[in-house]
């Protein structure tokens, strides 16, 4: 098995139409060899369609899929040498674990002895040594997931596609499998394209995230870029919790401000790009502070809700014209909001992002 089998993947104006409906709209995407890229998006955003086109199960309406520099758009799925892990694992119920994992090698007519050796080795690498003779129905969800991974990796594909592979698992197991998949990705060195609608999975697992909205890439970037510097309202609202305050950007006294219903709010320097135009100020709950009403800094408001959520205290503060969600640590000595009482919300302008304001998104309606 090659040490670093990962190969690059490029999508070239990849488009999928069903009748008059465009499901994937001229998507351009380059995935580097060995990268872990997540296609994140709500259902119907086209992420699964992209995966199906890369795997070869559905033909693109137009555009190309380039694997390791070679177009594969005209190749049948069985000729593409891509590992696929399905949502429900799609393990063959009538075959043992060893037969399942050996299946791709059998299709490639590997001699029996070599086949058995590779199956044993791969099962050990995914942590399932000794499970050879079991049937899929005799395995737990997490074990089935590992078998599916082993089966998709045993023939050393350059690219591994995963379609919502953790959807069927309970929360704790999902948490463990996230790290297990990361570990396997690093160990096998394979390029991974991972499809999910779960932003938490996307943020913790990916090198980069392509966030999809109605068949287009709304934003492509690292987890941190997507989370902290969303480019559109859709991105800001889909990933993480945020409060958005509309207004107009103005300069005053060498600093930038957002003039809106909430009064004049300080914003970061980069917001200069939106000078004079309508914009949205995005506030992430954990980047905000609550300070006493008598304080000089921040924006005045009233606490309308304060809920203990475990790792933080989630407070909703009504300020003039908007409601802001604030998450604060529950350490001793931290400011304790009281529902109904006045409070001030403060932040460091560098922690905020400014998005373009309400554009009438007619061009987006395909």
């Amino acid at each position: 098995m090659a040490d670093r089998p990962g190969i690059s993947l490029s999508l070239r104006v990849l488009t999928k139409r069903y009748g008059r409906q465009t499901v994937v709209d001229a998507v351009e995407l380059d995935v580097a060899a060995g990268e872990f890229l997540t296609l994140l998006g709500p259902s119907g955003s086209g992420k699964s369609s992209i995966l199906m086109m890369v795997a070869g199960f559905t033909p693109p309406s137009s555009g190309d899929v380039v694997l390791g520099g070679r177009s594969v758009a005209s190749l049948a799925p069985e000729k593409r040498n891509i590992g696929v892990v399905f949502q429900n694992y799609a393990l063959f119920p009538h075959m043992t674990v060893a037969e399942n994992v050996g299946f791709p090698l059998k299709m490639r007519r590997l001699p029996r002895a070599e086949r058995d050796a590779r199956v044993t080795e791969t099962l050990a690498r995914v942590g399932l040594a000794g499970f050879d003779g079991r049937l899929p129905a005799q395995l737990s969800g997490g074990q089935q997931q590992r078998v599916a991974l082993a089966r998709a990796l045993v023939f050393a594909p350059g690219l591994l596609l995963m379609d919502e592979p953790l959807g069927a698992l309970d929360r704790n197991l999902r948490e463990r499998m996230k790290h297990e998949i990361r570990r396997i990705h690093a160990e096998f060195g394979v390029t991974v394209v991972y499809v999910t609608h779960d932003q938490e999975e996307a943020l913790t697992m990916s090198d980069r995230i392509a966030l999809l909205d109605r068949g287009r890439i709304a934003q492509l970037g690292t987890a941190r870029e997507i989370y902290e510097r969303p480019k559109t309202r859709f991105v800001a609202e889909f990933v993480g919790e945020s409060s958005l305050i509309p207004g107009t950007l103005v300069e005053d006294g060498g600093r930038w401000w957002l003039d809106g219903s909430a009064g004049r709010l300080p914003v970061p320097r980069e917001a200069a790009a939106f000078a004079g135009r309508s914009a949205l100020l995005m506030l992430r709950p954990e980047k905000l502070r609550l300070v006493a009403a008598e304080s000089r800094s921040g924006v005045p408001g009233t606490v309308i809700e304060a809920v203990f959520v475990g790792e933080a205290l989630r407070t909703v503060v009504r300020i003039e014209g908007a409601a802001i969600v604030v998450k604060t640590a529950t350490r001793a000595g931290e400011f304790r909001p009281i529902v109904g009482a006045p409070v001030r919300v403060d932040w460091d302008p560098a922690d905020l992002a400014v998005l373009p304001g309400e554009e009438r998104a007619t061009a987006d309606l395909a």
């Binding site: 499901v23 259902s43 119907g44 086209g46 699964s48 369609s49 795997a55 070869g56 199960f57 049948a76 799925p77 069985e78 593409r80 040498n81 891509i82 590992g83 696929v84 399905f86 949502q87 429900n88 799609a90 063959f92 119920p93 009538h94 299946f103 791709p104 299709m107 490639r108 089966r151 998709a152 023939f155 919502e164 069927a168 609608h197």
Partner: protein
């Protein structure tokens, strides 16, 4: 897009206990079963006991009726004919029914509905009417022969009825739904992503079918084939109407025994032997597929 696992296949009958809790009177379940049991005892169990009694009585307890059957080549020939006709009908039904069921299980909902309707519609017509219709179609002056003559494909009418061909056509027509429905029931539950997965793992469409779909559909083949074979063994109307003098089956033989020769003892013995054959085929099928599968119940 994001194919959800089939959550509807099980437990749709969850709201079964629909009788309101406050209803003043509800029959106890064992009473309901009692009616069915009485009905079965009268119209099924009693005749069966009489059949057994007749077959061993001539008068006085005897094996003579069975000895006669074994000793008479014409009777054995009838058994052989019956098994042969049923076997061929089963094979033809499987050959026609498997692709049909496959198409139904893998196509879109709309064509599936149309196919399902086409398969079920014949159920609403009596076997007798359908069989007589074949006499009209297949006869010397029937539509098929006339068409063949008109197109110059044959020079004189070919014998399509009152022989083995007629019997097979009629039986396959009647029995095909009994092959398709169990096959479809099993195929519809095969997760299509299994075949997709096989393709992604390097299997050509044909190999994916042979390695994954075909073995998973085998319980349906066993269920459908046993059902059709069993029904074909006892078929009376179709061989009687469409068959010729050389295609005497056990069922027609029993009819001759009872109606023409008034030999009720031999008729009963023949019937009992046929029943024993049916029961053993059913048992074999049940051992393989699970009795529930054979009668269409879901396996737990």
């Amino acid at each position: 897009m994001d194919a959800a696992p089939d959550l509807n296949s099980g437990g749709t009958g969850g709201g079964g206990g629909s009788a309101p809790a406050a209803s003043p009177w509800r029959p106890r379940p064992d009473w309901l079963v009692a009616f069915a049991l009485v009905f079965f005892a009268v119209v099924y169990a009693y005749p069966l006991v009489r059949l057994v009694a007749w077959s061993f009585w001539a008068p006085g307890f005897t094996f003579r009726n069975f000895a006669q059957i074994v000793a008479e080549p014409a009777y054995l020939q009838a058994f052989y004919n019956t098994v042969e006709i049923a076997g061929i009908a089963t094979a033809v039904c499987l050959a026609l029914g498997y692709p049909l069921a496959y198409l139904m299980a893998t196509t879109d909902p709309r064509p599936r509905m149309i196919l399902g309707a086409l398969i079920l519609i014949p159920f609403w017509t009596s076997v007798l009417v359908r069989t007589l219709a074949w006499v009209v179609l297949l006869g010397r002056n029937g539509i098929i022969n006339q068409a063949l003559l008109a197109w110059g494909l044959v020079e004189r009418p070919i014998p399509l009825v009152f022989n083995n061909i007629g019997v097979q056509i009629g039986m396959v027509h009647v029995l095909l739904p009994f092959m398709v429905l169990p096959l479809y029931a099993v195929m519809a539950r095969i997760d299509p992503s299994l075949v997709t997965a096989a393709r992604s793992l390097g299997a050509s469409p044909a190999r994916a079918f042979l390695a994954v779909f075909a073995p998973l559909s085998l319980p349906g083949v066993v269920a459908g084939a046993s059902l059709v074979f069993l029904m074909a063994l006892g078929f009376y109307v179709t061989p009687a109407l469409l068959g010729g003098p050389n295609e005497i089956t056990v069922a027609t033989l029993i009819e001759i025994m009872v109606r023409d020769l008034l030999d009720w003892g031999s008729g009963a013995a023949l019937g009992l032997l046929l029943l024993a054959g049916v029961a053993s085929v059913f048992a074999a099928g049940a051992v393989y597929a699970g009795a529930g599968r054979l009668v269409g119940a879901e396996r737990a």
